[in-house]
Amino acid sequence: MKPWRYFLILLLLLACEERFNDPLNTRPTNLLVVEAVLTNELVPQKINLSFPYQQLNGAPTPATGAVVQVVENDAVIYSFYENILQPGEYISAPFRAVFGEEYKLEIQIQGKEYYATDSSVPVEPLTPLQYKMVNNQFELVLYETGTISNYIDHTITSEDNSGCMPCLGRVIFYDLKSIDVNEIYKPGKKSFLFPAGSTIIRRKYSVSASYRTYLRSMLSETEWRGGIFDVDRANVATNLSTGATGFFAVSTVISDTTVVE
């Protein structure tokens, strides 16, 4: 190809990205944000309720004073109580949310009621953890496995903070078994490196069909945004009734722990 044609193609593709310094003009909103993932582990289940962030790197406003419960198959009721140490977090007594049962979330807050239902699907076994050495440190090698949608949450703790307050890092790998052009051309991700001796706790979550729809739309607005081919901006899917966003999910979880040496 002749040089001028390369130049023409370059001109067509030319775009620059730089910092945007104009302030965000935001107004408070009372849109309820629900973050709820019940699992099959016999632990106190947690549900977070909040209102939207007002600043880019700020903290969400906790939604306090809610009445929260989960109903299993219209028969068994699990009540959630607000954590006094962490406003906006609601905790139950230990119970399992198991495969084959339907769970319904009910929230009453500020005179309004919100509902959502979900059921879990099975999860495939974890495959061996892979990591590679980069500049005398380590980096996770994330890869797709199996045939069912899932995501793996990696909590990484160094020897210095074994109590995980705070953890060294947290990396989530989504494997939604979908072909999305905005995922294929998603923007580059920053590497996360950790030292030898770090402990990695992996938790693999199963993803139901509706949860997968939510995750795809959420990723399209977050991790997959800013590449070459973006989809139109749109509301993130939800299974919550009108006036709330987020998702109420029930997942099957398996986990393992690895010490990196």
Binding site: L11, N25, T26, G169, E223, D230
Partner: protein, 96 residues
Amino acid sequence: MYGEKNNARLPTYHRLDVTAIFKLNRNNERKYQHELALSIFNLYGRKNPLFINFNKEAQAANNFKVPSDLINREYSISQFYLFRATPSVSYNFRWQ
């Protein structure tokens, strides 16, 4: 999430394009007319944002990446813009 829908605007969009057209016909009675146009798009090089991203960290000047670590991250707002001052040449030919 930052607030209500449609509560923010992109900065004002403006640019100046200039074009000089040189008629190449000396005789206007001919069966065809042709001319050469020299243009400059966005003469003063205004950086008009095409779109704005809220999901990236600044690695260095004008190098933005999505963070992998969900605990230690510091988002910054970045904008994409297309051409600044861009010259072009076109040739027009038409039958009378």
